[in-house]
Amino acid sequence: MPGFNEGPMIGKTLASVTPWLPNIVVVDDGSSDDTAEIAARAGAHVLRHAINLGQGAALGTGIRYALLQGAELIVTYDADGQHRPEDIEVLLRTQREAGADVVLGSRFLGGAENMPVSRRWLLKLAATYTRMTTGLHLTDAHNGLRLFTRAAAERMRIRQNRMAHASEMLEWLGSSGLRIAESPVRIVYTDYSLAKGQSFFSSFNILWDLWSSRLYQ
């Protein structure tokens, strides 16, 4: 669970997922508030980035740490409280039934409450872009709720520190040969999660990060 200045929400989020997960790793991405302290009190493994690097970098750190601890299944989960913890069980069931290496949550298969129309269209555009660039027929390209088997996580390399990591991950998955499944999940947009979320113009940064990264090693 990556977190940057999530003090107002992370305690509640951790309390809700604790019954569903045996181990929770929180990566505090250089917060200036008490995110790390709250996470430690809530019983999570806590890692701190000395500087703010971005969500992609925080996920990369958390996944690497989980692998070092011997994790067999890794779930990524947003700290802003927009996921429903019971959807973790849905992801696990999908992984078992489909024998998938990677399970991606989809709000368009499950549902989304209070999703702004602009966000809906942006996500649809992102899914179309993903289909065109990776060949993956996904309904939701940027859902923070995902599941990776150990084998998949060990092969994955996240180079994009910021929000472009989600697209980068899908590009990699498209050529990885891994078995990928989508799972219906519900997203509840709150004023808090909308304020923390990405603006329309962030998509330009994501495209720039993705395209420019192809020009250097």
Binding site: H45, L47, I51, N161, S212, L215, Q217
Partner: protein
């Protein structure tokens, strides 16, 4: 006499660009190419007018300015990519520090 230092400078730029191939193949390819055009224009300034006429640029001096602009953009791109590469290194360092200083949940043994 200004031609020799200019050619030396452009050759240096071309060599520098060529050596950037491991970091950015596109910069490594385009910089020597653009510098080559620059050297040709220094040796034969009359070509700039002819090339400008063919390309519909206007005057030869304008074409030289455009080539110089292209070189500047490539150098800036290279600096940008180099910064991105350094940023990747900082990410790796920050990640390793975070893992080394991890606070495991109470009762959970840290396995390294």
């Amino acid at each position: 006499m200004i031609k020799l230092p200019l050619i030396a400078l452009l050759l240096f730029c071309a060599l520098y660009g060529w050596r950037q191939r491991p970091l950015s193949p596109i910069v490594g390819f385009l910089t020597p190419l653009t510098c080559g055009v620059g050297i040709a224009l220094v040796i034969r300034p009359d070509w700039s007018s002819e090339a400008a006429r063919l390309l519909g640029v206007g005057r030869g001096a304008d074409l030289v300015l455009y080539v110089w602009t292209a070189i500047s953009i490539l150098v800036l791109a290279n600096i940008h990519f180099r910064l991105r590469a350094y940023h990747s290194m900082i990410t790796l360092l920050t990640r390793e520090l975070a893992i080394l200083n991890a606070k495991p949940a109470e009762g959970a043994p840290l396995e390294r």
